[in-house]
């Protein structure tokens, strides 16, 4: 993602954002509410096009070659996007169809993806019978179904209890090691960031920092990540106060 800017009417939502998510890495997109994280996700998934800049996924430009680009992408959106009237398996096979995978061919990978998130035995249950944490895990399974090279998760743990949050995070971190996917994990919660993570700190539509956590602490002259985050985004907190 290079030099990406976007505005909604007079409001500049993203301003010259540049970031990269190499394969096999876990990158945290950290920013307070309203920082522009969801806008960035909407552009990366081509919900709409950016005003300027370019977004490439495995070299494929999202705007010029959306078909090849989107095929490499697995997405978990901030808001729940499963169909409550359908079963877990039906939701996954529907998603597979949207990727061009026939129902018969998608069954085995769907069951394996559900097993990966510990929900294979509930494959025939309706999604509306699941808890919030379980539904999130199904969304992760769904995002993995077509074997994407890059996984985008937008505030994937919002509304989950601590145990569900930790298990969701552990599953995704495991995927980076096991399958070599590149993960962009958007969150506003500093306790989801590990001490050796690569962090991109987004604030008011601009990247304020991009690098490893120890470097952020050094640049922000803070003793811990929470302090660094507060320092970088202090104008927002001052306004809120």
């Amino acid at each position: 993602m290079r030099g990406v800017s976007h505005r909604f009417g007079p409001i500049l939502a993203l301003d010259d954002v540049t970031l990269a998510v190499p394969r096999g890495t876990f990158v945290v997109l950290l920013g307070p509410n309203g920082a522009g994280k969801s806008t960035l996700f909407a552009l990366a998934t081509r919900l709409y096009d950016s005003v300027s800049g370019e977004i490439r996924i495995l070299g494929h430009d999202v705007r010029r070659n959306p078909t090849a680009a989107l095929q490499q992408l697995g997405v978990v959106f901030q808001s729940r996007s499963l169909d409550g009237y359908l079963s877990l398996l039906q939701n996954l096979t529907y998603h597979a169809a949207l990727q061009g995978i026939g129902r018969r061919a998608s069954r085995a990978p769907a069951m394996q993806a559900l097993a990966k998130v510990g929900l294979a035995e509930r494959a025939d249950d309706k999604v509306r019978e699941l808890s919030g944490g379980q539904a999130r895990r199904v969304e992760i399974a769904r995002a993995l179904l077509h074997d994407p090279a890059c996984l985008l998760l937008d505030e994937a743990t919002v509304g989950l209890d601590i145990a569900s949050r930790e298990s969701t995070l552990a599953i995704v971190r495991g995927l980076v090691k096991e399958r070599g996917v590149g993960v962009l994990w958007a969150t506003h919660l500093v306790d989801e960031v590990a001490s050796d993570d690569h962090v991109v700190l987004l604030h008011k539509g601009r990247v304020r920092f991009s690098g490893l956590v120890p470097d952020l602490l050094r640049v922000a002259q803070a003793g811990n990540l929470r302090g660094a985050f507060m320092r970088v985004t202090e104008d927002t907190h001052a306004e809120a106060a």
Partner: protein
Amino acid sequence: MTAYVTARGRLDASGYLACFSGIVWREVLRFLHQRERFLAALVRPLVWLFIFAVGFRQVLGVSIIPPYQTYVLYEVFVTPGLVGMILLFNAMQSSLSMVYDRETGAMRTLLVSPFPRSFLLVSKLLGGVAVALLQVYAFLGIAYFWEIEPPLIGYVTVLPALVLAGLMLGALALFMSSVIKQLENFAGVMNFVIFPMFFASSALYPLWRIKESSPLLYEICRINPFTHAVELIRFALYGQLEPTALAIVLGCTVLFLAAAIYAYNPSKGLMSWRGGPAGGG
């Protein structure tokens, strides 16, 4: 490292077919799981047929007009209009679900598919039409026992007319779903679309009757695309083709579809400038 069973998506003809059938299958499955929706969709036209039409039979005579070759009961006349009503309500319900899906985020699942957006939207429309066909044939099946007995071949010849009329209304609803910002606005818009479209048409009364009462309303009915959808269905149900209705419905389908595809286009459409995505980030 664990061995994974993976299925790479195909973007060739078989991939397109898998995507199309998946979208249609999901629409039908959702409908079948929502039994109350199926019941409501059937009850609405049946109430009109069993109660409204019976009451009107005595006050509204229908003279011999094509495609009918003899005097017909009002129930017979009104049946194609009620079929149109099913298509209209189904299209609007589908549009409502798209607004809801957009608010909840489910719409994004569809839109991030690597297939062209126009293909996804047309597939979604045809999925809605498939659901409407189930409702229409269930209604016609019940109406048969109410002495609405078109020729048997009519049940076949009406099929393309139903698909085309369903596509036209679905495309209109799809375009509307792109301009409706919030679910709360939907009811108001519906009042300005469903009821005027339905009542200012030939669904409930022959156009010559309307002309006798109000020449202005007659002209409004004539330019209403829904009138032509109803006439297309009426003639097709009796194994006949009404060329003017076909041309207008076809033209309107292309127009509405182009508008909907434009509205959902990521770079040119309405979604890019009317506001940010749902969510706080």
